[in-house]
Structures are given as C-alpha cells and as structure tokens.
Amino acid sequence: MSQKRLRAGAAVLTMASATALAVGQTAPAQEARPRPSLNLYGTTGLIDMPSAQAQPDGQISISYSQFGETSRRNFNFQILPRLSGTLRYSTIKNWGQNDDNGVYDPTYDLYDRSFDLQLQILDEDYDGWVPSLALGFRDFLGTGVYSSEYLVASKTVAEDFTLTAGIGWGRLSGVNGFKNPFCELSSGFCDRENDFGEGGKVAFGTFFHGEESALFGGVEWRTPIENVTLKAEYSSDAYSREQKSPASTFERKSPFNFGAEYRWREGVTAGLYYMYGDTVGFNVSLSGNPNRPLAPQDLGTGPLPVNARAMDAPQGTDWATNPAARDALAEALAEVLKAEGMRLEQFKAEPGVVDVVITNLRFNEEPQAIGRTARVLSAGMPASVQTFRITMMEDDLVTTTIAIDRSDFESQVDRFGATLESWQTAVLEGALPSLGREAWVRDAYPSLDWNLVPAPYLVLLTPEDPIKLGVNIDLGFRLNLAPGLSATANISQPFINVPDDPGPSETNLPPVRSDQGRYYSGYDPKLTQLTADYLFKLNRDVYARATVGLIERMFGGVSGEILWKPVNQSWGLGAELNYVMQRDFDDPFGFGYYDYDVVMGLGSLYWETGFYGLETQLSAGRYLAGDWGGTVNVTRRFANGWAVGAYFTLTDVTSEDFGEGSFDKGVTLEIPFRWTVPFETKTNNSIGLTSVSRDGGANLMVSNRLYPIVRDYDRYHLKQSWGTFWQ
C-alpha cells in the first residue's frame, strides 16, 4: 500500500482536503503548450519582429504598444488555423510632412491604418526537427508606411526556448541588407514603389520587391519564474523615415531589442522593452478565444427532469377537440414556458400532434430553447400526443419548425450520445406563415413595449482620433399592432462626450455618409427612427419586409425586402429596394437641407460555406450616393454567437472621388454577452471597425433586415449549436 493511496484514502473520508484536489485533478496527457506571445505590431512574434508561430484557432487579441514616438493599437484575429489578420492604427509623432499649403511641417503627426496577413506554411514538429514556417504581408492595404513581407521560421528547443529567424523585404530590409534574391529572376523585382496614394488597395506590385532583403531573428525564453518571459531580437527595420524629421527625438542606435513580459493571467500580458539602443517601450495585450468562454458555461437552472410516459397512461384525445380544455392547456403551458425563458405565441392541438410557436427570450443558443420546450411538452402534454412541432419566432417572424417524435425523445433523454441521436431524429422545415384560425394565439395586440438604455458607443480608427468614447441615452417605443405589424420610435439623447458640429464635409459625391458627424453633434435629442414595419412570410421559405418612415438617422423613405431562404439549404437569395431622402441633420422631420433623394437597393446571395463557420454575403446594386457596384462580406461565425467579419465594397466611384482608403471596407466584431457572464442572456455586443465614413459604396441602415433575423434558425446554424439541446 503506497503512501499516495493512504493519502487518497484519507481524502475520501474528509473529502474537503487539499489532498483530494491534488489526487483528483486531470493531468493532461501532453503538457499544454503556452500560447505564443505577441509583438509590438500585435502579431505573433518577438518584440518588433514577427515569428512563425500561430495563435490558437479563433483567438482574438487587442493590444497597445508604445516606444519612442510610435504608438500602435492592434486588433489581431486568428481567422483560420493557418491564417491570421491584424488591423492596426498607429500614431507616429513628428513624422514631418508638407501641410495643405505645401509648407513642410516637421512636427506633423502621422495617423496611419494598416492591415497584415500571416499564412502558416508549416506546423512545428515538437518531437522532431521541422520548425514552424510562415509567410507574412505587413501593411499591404494601407498607405504603405509599414509595407513589408517576410518569410520566417521558429523552432522550440529545450522546451522553454524558441528561436526565430527570417528574411524580410520592404521595410524589413533596412539593416545589413543584401541583394534581393528575386532580382535574379527579374530586374523588375528590384524596384519597390511605396506611395500608394489614398491607400486601401492591395499592393501586389510591391510584394517581395526592392533592391535588398535582410535577415532578422531572436530568441524567446520562458523562464522558470512563473509567467515571466524574456526576449531578445535583432531587428532588420532601420526606422529611417521616423528619424527624418528634424523634430524627431527618436534615434535608432542599435538593431538589438531586449524585453521582459509578464503574463498576469491567461489573456492578459504586459511587456517592457529596451528598444533600438535608445528608448524604453511597453506593450499591453488582452486576448480571448470564442471557444473558451470567460464565464462557466452553465451556472443556471438545469433543464426540467422528464419521465417517459407510463405504458398504461390514458390515451384519450377529447381534450384536443374541446376548445375550453385546449385553451386552458395553452394558458398553463404559457406559464410554465415563461418560467423557462420562452414566450408561447401560438398553440394548436390535434389528437396526436401539438404545435407551439415560441419566442426564445433567454437562451443564447436556440437549440437549448428548443430542448427545454420539448421537455416542458413531454412533462405536460397528454400521453396521446406523439409529435411535438416547435416553431421558433424571432422579431415577430416565424422561422423554422422542428418536429420531435415523443417516443424518440423519451428513448434518448439522459442516455449517452443522446445529442447526436436527437439531431438525427429531429425534422426541420420552414414554418408555415400561420397555424390557422383554430390555433390559440397570445393576446398581445395592441401592446406597447418600451426601453430606456444607456448606449455607450465607441468610434475607432478615425483619422483625427484613434478612439472616441461617448454615451447616449436611448429611449425606444414599439407599438405592436398585429402579428408582424408594428410601429417603432427611437430617440437618442446625447449625454457624454458629445461632439460639436464638424461642418460640411469635403466630398465630390452627395454627402450621404461623410456628413455623418453632423447628425451626432449637439445636445438636442435625435429622432433616430420613426417607422411602420411589416414583417411576414409568403410561404415556408420566403420572408418579406416593408418599412416606411424615418428609417435611420440620416435617411427616411420607403424600404422593401424579400428573402428566399429554405431552412435545409445552405444558401439563400435576397433583394431590397429603397426610395429614400436625406434627412436634415438639425431638424428631425426636415428633408430640405440636402434636397437629395435616391432609388437604391441591392440583390444579395447568402452562403454558409460549412468551412470553419465562414459565411459569405455577395451583394450588388445601387448604393446611397447613386453609385453602382458590389459588396463582398465574409464572416466567421462561432456556434456561441461570436462573429468576426470583414467586408469591402467596390463601386464605379473612383478612388480619388472616394478619398482616403480608396474604397469602403471594414471589420465587424460581435461578442455575445453570454460569453462573459455565467447566466443565460441573448444580448450581443457589436463593434464595427470600419474605415472612415465616406460616400462611395454606402448602404442604407435598416434595423430589421431579414437575413440576420432568420439566420440562426436554419439547419446549418442549429446543427452547430445542437449540443445545447439537452442542456
């Protein structure tokens, strides 16, 4: 009998001892490797140089770094296991540049946006000799300040050391360079143009170009001191342009950088560095992963325990044909479902089948609401009911009907593998527009809903100010008149950090978005929406919407939309047509100031690729400024509601007329509140990292577009989160 067993025995008796903890915990079969660290560009790397390691799939990091006269705000996303992207907003003080009058201003501060991609070519073989290998493109969309490419390799040796070495082009060829090897292929490779005008275009012509290339490298040591990492690197970035202005105080004296980083807790890291023999720098990063919630996944009320029907349970069906009995059952069911977080909208009973239409008010993932409803039906419906047909409603639209065989349900509940079996036996189809006249319908019309919410907003990456935070107080009313028919009024009261009127913008196009700042200025309350809306279904697969009124802060008019999206199909088609007029920025009901109206609209193809949750939306048509073109939107959507997307719009507006950025593009981020708290909620936080508001490629902002309403209820999305069905 070993000593360990004796301690284990004692643990059984006391059960609370620390010894129990020691013996009982899982020991991972393979020691989990630490997440690779980030550099001062916000990408995986050393200090200022990149490395070839990759973050875990889906990892999202924001970081702020500063040294000398450079500061960078970075947003990094591991888009796919082998592809990461970084959006950056940098400030370089004393950059020096000619002002509007052509006079050189040595104290001119540069505000610059840039975007990087890094492609993982090889994964490291930790047991062998193969290093990780990555190809990177830095600032390939911006104005070229950080334009560079690199090929880099990293190898972990002796468990705690990671060595990195690479070759760089462009900005990364500035120190001890040698002749660009690609010049041997073509002399054209020796020329590198770094003036990209308004920026925003992919600089294909510069990739791996330039007279010289240079080597860089470094080492990272995860020290025995817990959570402390030391780094040293040799940088091939000469920082020549930063030192050009006579006002610059930064002087690069050495290619060597040294630093120490402390990981305060998982996802929070701070670093301090001695940079280029001249200055001290720091970096703070916050990181999270959609697949690893901050809060425990389930600390709420468990699902209702259910028993299978008894063999000798009464099989009478009179109740189904007795309106009074049916209504009493519906009322009771509504009460129970309300306690579970669902609202019963409609109920229809036939001898062997019950139909319920519910709105999920609580659960972040729809299958959890479906499963809990099935449990309530299983516990409460007469034994003669063999099929539960559960229809999900969202924003007054019936979406998908899930038919569940009761015997299947009873034979699956609590068993191993029930999740997969329940998915395989559930039948999905588009919901009928109505359950018919004989259905019980919630007595909800007319009714008034209202809400009063503080609405903090974050404006990021504008040319003047990298981060602008403000707070409005939003008051909203919704008058529900009939199923699908409602009137909405939203009023926003500017409250904190209210901007002044910036005056008219300079644009060659109708100022459909470039004057946006004017609509947010001043303390007068803003009528941001006053509409009548009708959302309805034409048949099982076709949804429609009509909106009239003050549709958004800047435009009012008429909007119509139709969407064809069969539940069991991975793609759908939509079309939207609008006639809108630009509203006055200082008069809630005025349209005279701009005297601008336009007929515009887009046709859209929606496609769920089935590849790592990637979804695409391709749209084409006419935009607000009367320009014609198309938009490509790619979003990675996680089962728990996280979504990270990017889009760009190309229209017949020239890059010169468009202005800075050349064309419209941006990144969107949606974070489910449920990810951060240990209780169920459907609230989402959305952040848009868009480019500067310009007039080309601008779309109307409609609050209740159809596809976002119905998206979560198709086969693909329900399958992704079906794991919550029994939770």
Partner: protein, 228 residues
C-alpha cells in the same frame, strides 16, 4: 454602498416595460448580500435530518463541488431506463446510473452524458470480491456539433482497505477503492467507498470533466425503482 452599486448596475442594465432586465436583477441579487428575506435565510439554516429524509421516502443524494463549502441535497426527480436524475432546490441536476455520475447540469461546466463498459461496479453494485480489474469510461462534453466531444479513459481499480463512512447519521462498513483512469486527453483518479457486503458505492469522488473537476457524491437514500 452595495445598494447603490446594485441600483447603478440595474440602471446601466436598462429598464423596460417588463421591468428591469430580469437576468441582471438575478445577477445583482447574486452579489448583493442584503435584502435577503428572513424566511429564506431561516430556511437555509434548517438542517436536513435522516428522519426527515426517511419520512419523505424519496431517493436522496448529497453532492458537493470541491470548491464549495457544504454539500447540496438533491432528490430523485426522474428515471429513464435506469438513468435517475436528481434535482436540487435550485434545479441543478445530477444524473446517476447506479452510483456513476452520467450527467451534470447547472454546476458550471456540463457533462452531457457518460457511459461505461460492463460490468461496472458503479452502475450496478457488485460485491467487492467480484469487482472487475477495470472498466472503460466514455464522457461526452459540449462541442460545436451534435456529436459532442467524446473522451475515453481506461480505468483500473485498486483496493486500498476497509473503511467506515457516516452519511447523514448512517454508518456504513465499506471498502475504499481507488480508480485510476487514463486516456488520450489525460488522466485522473476517482475514489470510492463501496459497501463491504453488497458493493454499493455509498460515497465517491468522481471526475466529471477537466474544467469541472471532481464531485463529492454521497448516497443518502438509495433509489430503488419507480413506485406504482
């Protein structure tokens, strides 16, 4: 001060014609040490007795996460083919097959389901002298698909020695058994106290997932089948 913080949290959480956001109300109540009704406080203080359990005649277990100070009583609420679900007053649930925990809900990180090769002395009592050398255990955890994430472990039993345990005033003469499990995802150790005669596992420390860890389970009043 706490009241002000709570009020502020509610304000920031928005109000509607339905009242304050009920989820936030619940969250604030969780952290607000004041405003607890006297009855609720009194009820919390009432000790559960063996006599009361016997009078109720409902199968009862006690369970405690190792991070919790005191155990929670759970009562049998459903039986589906031998999978008996026990629910607490807050409707946190544990599903047991015999003495094996096969599912947890509402405790933090859910174990969706679990199974084991047979014979398994946890699912069906086996006198200690007849226990198999080991079993294979399979656990299903939530994943972004209907399949769930399945983890499989090979487990072996080792008898430690005779041991006595008292569960809510009832004394059981038993045998302590350690169960060592390992698999591709890692390894863990369960500990059981089985009845010396019948082999029923009265008390055990059972692993229910990497993130949830161990649950201390006690059978207060065993489940003996559905009535009627």
């Amino acid at each position: 001060m706490m009241r002000r913080i709570a009020a502020l949290a509610l304000l920031l959480g928005a109000c509607t014609n339905q009242g304050f956001n009920p989820i936030l109300v619940e969250a604030v109540n969780q952290v607000n040490p004041w405003d607890e009704p006297d009855e609720a406080a009194a009820a919390k203080g009432q000790p559960v007795t063996r006599a009361a359990i016997d009078r109720a005649d409902v199968a009862t277990i006690r369970a405690r996460l190792l991070s919790d100070k005191s155990p929670t009583y759970l009562f049998a609420a459903s039986d589906n083919g031998g999978y008996v679900t026990y629910a607490s007053s807050l409707r946190q649930t544990l599903t047991l097959r015999g003495s094996q925990i096969t599912a947890t809900r509402g405790l933090g990180w859910d174990l969706l389901s679990a199974t084991s090769s047979q014979p398994d002395p946890l699912t069906r009592a086996i006198p200690p002298g007849s226990w198999p050398e080991g079993v294979t255990r399979r656990y299903e955890f939530p994943a972004n698909s209907p399949e769930g994430r399945i983890e499989t472990f090979t487990c072996s039993f080792e008898f430690v020695g005779p041991q006595e345990v008292v569960i809510l005033d009832q004394r059981h003469q038993g045998v302590e058994v350690s169960e060592t499990c390992s698999g591709p995802a890692g390894s863990f150790e369960n500990l059981h106290l089985a009845d010396a005669r019948t082999g029923l596992v009265w008390r055990s420390l059972q692993w229910v997932g990497e993130r949830q860890g161990l649950i201390d389970l006690e059978i207060v009043l065993p489940y003996t089948g559905r009535k009627g």
